[in-house]
């Protein structure tokens, strides 16, 4: 009989305890962050979408080589001495290579961050943007090169011209060299 009343009292008392706890939570500060309007601060070393600064890229292709999923495609054109532009890098030193194509396929990218580690000029960096999506797989391939197709054509032509010129120069030099050596022999 005493057990019965004890039981009923425990039952009643524990309900009051539970109600006290829920009442406390009713007036507690809410933890919801209203996502598109408010955001959780992103840590500064977070690895989200990559961004390439084409001015800083020197076309060394280390990023493309280290990428474990091969999502980076780089094409390069050599800068020739007869280039009228005399292109320079961000720090004023002469540019040695044009980068006409620098594509990253974010459908493949695994956000390991190895490309940012190996980049000698800090051209490729992680941004804080993680809200990019696309209706097609092609839409996830980002093109970072800032060269126009005309400029690429021009640079290709210059390179071809220079290759022929260089060959001729080399042939002439070789001739001279052989002349000199034959003279020496004689």
């Amino acid at each position: 009989m005493i057990d019965y009343f004890k039981n009923v009292w425990t039952w009643f008392y524990t309900i009051l305890l539970g109600m006290r706890i829920t009442l406390k939570h009713l007036f507690a500060k809410k933890v919801t962050i209203q996502y598109p309007n408010e955001r959780y601060p992103i840590p500064p070393i977070a690895r989200n979408r990559l961004h390439l600064d084409p001015e800083r890229c020197n076309g060394c292709m280390q990023c493309a080589r280290i990428c474990p999923v091969q999502c980076i495609t780089v094409e390069t054109i050599k800068v020739v001495p007869i280039d009228p532009e005399k292109p320079t890098m961000f720090d004023g030193s002469p540019r040695k290579i044009w980068v006409p194509r620098y594509d990253i396929d974010f459908a493949k990218c695994c956000f390991c961050g190895l490309c940012t580690t190996v980049c000698p000029t800090d051209a490729i960096k992680h941004t804080i943007d993680f809200e990019y999506s696309s209706y097609t797989r092609e839409g996830l391939i980002y093109h970072f090169s800032n060269m126009t197709p005309e400029k690429i054509e021009e640079k290709k032509k210059l390179l071809a011209e220079w290759t022929i010129k260089e060959k001729a120069l080399k042939a002439e030099k070789a001739k001279q060299d052989s002349n000199v050596s034959s003279n020496e022999v004689n």
Binding site: V8, F27, K30, T32
Partner: protein, 350 residues
């Protein structure tokens, strides 16, 4: 305080005043249901430290409207093999049953749709319609989960009607009346005259105060079980029975079940308010008393009880069927019987 129906006074005892007396509670019910749904969403969210709906209107206050519009748009499906007539009738029976209860609820000294001298008895009688509607819907759905939910609901409502009725009987003994307006009028003149604190009378009422407190507690618990709300929501236990007796209902018919649940919540809250919390009387005697303040006090008290029901829902887990039966027959029934006997003795002696 004198009680009357304000529309009968203005328009006379004719069809117009009767129509207004019927429509006004229906309008109130719809507005109240929307507010209660919003309250349910918001309070559940706040207890879980969430914000709840925030996008529809300022602070999400239009969310219940959006949900009702969504329910109305939904396709109305009748499952194959269902008994069409009973299946289509069940939501209306359950809603009509719960709405009929509004007929005797005194919103103010000046307004009660139908002032009959057996109001409390009437509310209990039409409250039993809910069981018929639930069993009809559950059986006609041709679904074993619906049938199980309906059977559980019927057994639960029958076992909880008894302690609930004993509480009302005790109150009737104390008030010497079954008329809801008369019971309310008796408690006029401050909160110490409420039946929660023994009702009107001299200092001798002190020794029945514990019993009246216990009675109101018993009615609160029994009413939770009658309206199938947590912790007694085993007829619609999501994890066991999908949704219980309304598993097969969709669209407008589901909305009817939904409205009926909320209107039942208000009816039991109103009974508790009238019988124990003094109905439309002001808790401070004549201060803020009168016909207009009466509406305010009545709705405030009833909504507070509704808030406690929602609060309990988000505090307690669901009880087992055997625990429910134990609580009903072995705890609430003996306690309410003891209270009834004590209060009857008090009435005989004083």
């Amino acid at each position: 305080m004198e009680t009357f129906n304000v529309f009968e006074k203005i328009f006379g005892l004719n069809f117009l005043s009767a129509l207004i007396s019927v429509i006004l509670p229906l309008v109130f019910l719809i507005i109240y249901a929307l507010i209660a749904i919003l309250g349910e969403l918001k309070i559940s969210a706040w207890i879980q430290e969430r914000l709840g709906p925030m996008r529809t209107g300022p602070y999400g206050i239009l969310q219940p409207l959006a949900e009702v519009v969504k329910l109305i748009q939904k396709e109305d499906i009748v499952p194959a093999g269902a008994n069409r007539l009973l299946f289509n009738l069940a939501p209306y029976v359950i809603f009509a049953g719960s709405f009929a209860g509004f007929a005797v609820i005194p919103f103010s000294a000046a307004f009660v749709p139908a002032e009959i001298n057996i109001g409390l008895f009437y509310v209990f009688a039409v409250g039993a319609f809910a069981v018929i509607g639930i069993v009809m819907g559950g059986w006609a759905s041709n679904n074993k989960y619906s049938l199980l939910g309906a059977m559980r609901s019927a057994s639960q409502m029958i076992s909880y009607e008894i302690p609930g009725a004993l509480v009302i009987l005790s109150a009737a003994v104390l008030a010497n009346s079954l008329d809801m307006q008369k019971i309310t009028t008796l408690q006029d003149g401050g909160f110490w005259n409420w039946f929660l604190f023994g009702g009107p009378g001299n200092w001798t009422k002190i020794w029945i105060i514990p019993f009246t407190l216990l009675l109101s507690l018993i009615y609160m618990i029994a009413s939770l079980a009658e309206t199938n709300r947590t912790p007694f929501d085993i007829p619609e236990g999501e994890s066991e029975l999908v949704a219980g007796y309304h598993t097969e209902y969709s669209g407008m018919k589901f909305a009817m079940f939904f409205f009926a649940e909320y209107s039942n919540m208000f009816i039991v809250a109103a009974i508790l308010t009238v019988v124990f919390l003094g109905g439309w009387t002001s808790p401070f005697g004549t201060f803020m008393g009168g016909f207009w303040w009466g509406i305010f006090w009545f709705i405030l008290k009833a909504m507070f009880i509704v808030f406690i029901q929602i609060w309990l829902r988000w505090t307690l887990p669901r009880v087992r069927v055997d625990q429910l039966m134990y609580l009903g027959w072995k705890v609430l029934l003996p306690f309410s019987l003891v209270c009834f006997i004590v209060i009857s003795l008090y009435r005989i002696i004083y």
